[in-house]
Amino acid sequence: MRFLIHRYNPETDKKPRMQEYTLADINAGDMLLDALFQIKEEDDSLSFRRSCGEGVCGSDAMNINGRNGLACITPLNSLKEPIEVRPLPGLPIVRDLVVDMRPFYHQYRSVKPWLTVHDPEPETEYLQTPEQRDQLDGLYECILCGACSTACPSFWWNPDKFRGPAALLQSWRFLADSRDQATAERLEELEGAYRLFRCHSIMNCMDVCPKGLNPTKAIGNIKKMMLKHLV
């Protein structure tokens, strides 16, 4: 099985290159992450991030044959050879397949992804009806792998100003939460030409999301909510 892997070490290389590897003894039913481990055994200079290895932690998001995904849940037999593996697009490259996620986390932090309550805290837990809880399905499951935001051209062009699909999905997760009381502030914060409205609904985000979530729909919901607050 043939692989073309993005290699770049800023300390020694002038520019990135694609290095070819061939694995003779690999089970086609294995995941791409297994192959990367095997390549690393041959060439321990290869760097990539991974942790849980089963699509829960979101560490090993990368660009696989031109498409963002998690290496640990991408079966090799679903990929055309040579399998081209590159770092997530649009973020600074630290080394090989490792990117600097700071622009991504900065945008995530900016939407204040926590529950804000102005009333005095209740003595027991916050209560929600099952229907209110249902509103959070498809939102809370995000693992922050960054596949969506780095598949979004609007995020590529304005990563410092546009929140990006992952952060906006989380923004909607708290706007949709019946317990949250910062709706007006959250909407106010997303105003302007950049933070929310750079989204042109091209749906790359929902296309690549390894958890099957739909940030485009969440962004549409935020716009609808803004409209309701306006009238």
Binding site: L190, E191, R195, M226
Partner: protein, 113 residues
């Protein structure tokens, strides 16, 4: 949130409202003129009618506004340098403005002469 403070939402909403008007106008236009050959006289008589005149004027302005928002979006997306951005937007705005004024002149004079 006030209308004035909501620049992002405002453009987004206007983009959709103008699109709606453009589609409705084109549908009505196709219905009225479908199958007919448009001659200079028949077109002139139609444009001279106040309802058609106003509808056409609104159409052109909806189209120009739609183009402005869309064009501005493209510039914001792809043009990084602020000075290039200003130059492009000014040229674009001037072009659209001139087309608007020209249309206004044509339509205001349509009933006369």
């Amino acid at each position: 949130m006030s209308w004035r403070a909501s620049s992002g939402l405002r453009s987004w909403l206007l983009q959709r409202l103008t699109a709606l008007y453009i589609v409705v106008f084109l549908a009505v236009f196709a219905f009225v003129w479908g199958g007919q050959t448009i001659t200079f006289e028949s077109w002139r008589a139609w444009v001279a009618h106040p309802a058609a005149n106003i509808a056409l004027l609104l159409f052109v302005f909806a189209l120009l506004m739609h183009a402005w928002i869309g064009g501005r979006d493209v510039v914001i997306d792809y043009v990084k340098s602020a000075s290039t951005r200003y130059v492009l937007l000014i040229v674009f705005a001037l072009g659209l403005g001139i087309m608007g004024l020209w249309t206004l002149r044509i339509l205001l004079l349509a009933g006369t002469g």
